[in-house]
Symmetry: C2
Subunit: 222 residues, 2 copies
């Protein structure tokens, strides 16, 4: 776990905002904070506990992150950005038209890609999910990134495939929500609720794609 966290941390924090200097101790702090936040929740975690686990003086935390809340934001923000990154690329719609002739291919690709992301950042995503409802700053971030950017773009894709007659004519928002529920439901079960279970990811992905494709198909049942 430490190795893994340090790996993506170094990666993330460095390419965050034009090469801000990040010290060893900063990495240790974020590392420890993520672990404890994910285990006991943000509010139930004390800064002294973080300092102890990070092997750092408590003052060091406040030297780099002025407040405890600031530390939370510094942890969640880059992950939130990376979470939506694949949807915010410039030529999203064009890539789609060219590369994915069928809705199914698009869904499978996205599913595999974002599921790998979830595995990689599971602890931070857990903290994110839990703290968004109680933190106005995170709420604003979430609204901007996920609601405004992602949902709106995916909506357009749904409309696109509806016009092609590949999926049913129903409110695009509802279609987006049902697909998102299927995927998020798996991600949560897979990595948060029962990560120790034996999972056959390939089989589950095939099943979900089938479920969603059939669910949105025009064909009548039976």
């Amino acid at each position: 776990m430490p190795d893994q966290v340090e790996q993506w941390l170094a990666e993330l924090l460095r390419l965050n905002d034009e090469e801000e200097k990040v010290t060893e101790k900063q990495i240790k702090i974020v590392q420890a904070a993520v672990e404890i936040f994910a285990e006991k929740g943000y509010s139930a975690t004390s800064t002294s506990e973080i300092a102890q686990k990070a092997g750092v003086a408590e003052g060091t935390i406040f030297r780099h992150y002025k407040t405890k809340q600031n530390l939370l934001i510094a942890i969640v923000t880059p992950i939130m950005e990376k979470l939506v990154a694949p949807f915010v690329i410039r030529n999203f719609q064009e890539v789609l038209n060219v590369q994915y002739e069928h809705f199914e291919d698009f869904m499978r690709a996205m599913l595999i890609n974002r599921l790998a992301f979830t595995r990689k950042y599971a602890p931070v995503l857990k903290v994110m999910i839990h703290e968004i409802p109680f933190n106005p700053d995170l709420q604003a971030q979430f609204m901007e990134h996920v609601s405004t950017n992602v949902v709106e773009r995916v909506r357009r894709i749904v409309v696109h495939f509806q016009a092609q007659g590949q999926i049913i004519e129903a409110p695009a928002d509802s279609i987006v929500r049902m697909c998102a529920s299927t995927i998020v439901g798996y991600a949560v079960t897979r990595y948060l609720l029962a990560p120790e279970r034996d999972w056959n990811d390939d089989e589950e992905i095939d099943l979900m794609v089938r479920f969603m494709m059939h669910g949105l198909s025009l064909n009548p049942v039976r």
Copy 2:
């Protein structure tokens, strides 16, 4: 909101364990606690704040609920039991065989029923969802009620309809999870994420049933 909360509270606490005496102040305390827990989270809520909002001395809270954690449990436990109640009735499977010839009817009935429940107890369910991952007692309760009771029973129903050839042959757990994701995804979006949006519940329910039925149907797509 207060009226609503008081209504189900009186109803709940009274038929909880053979008519334990519940005072006016106890109702006020639980009422205030639920509201603040739902708004800022359990750990971020102080007992003094609860006392203030309830119009009660802080000592009164600890007279009835020995600890803050105890108060949380006293709030969540009865709702957790009611949440799974429809699945735990004695002759669940028989009712099903007689009353619901088709999988679709069963799903629609459950969907409507549990969605009404979610609307009624939304604040407590929010608290429940947020605190289960961090509270061993609630975790144990959830495992017992939801995992052991509900999932196991619904699993058997899925297998039943699979044998009848009404739905696809896939791991029953996965089918249960995908249906649960669809429903929970709607409940969360409807009552927690965007409760102020204009929702057409009947249309959404029809759409979800269609989505799940098509998703699990045997027919090949296109």
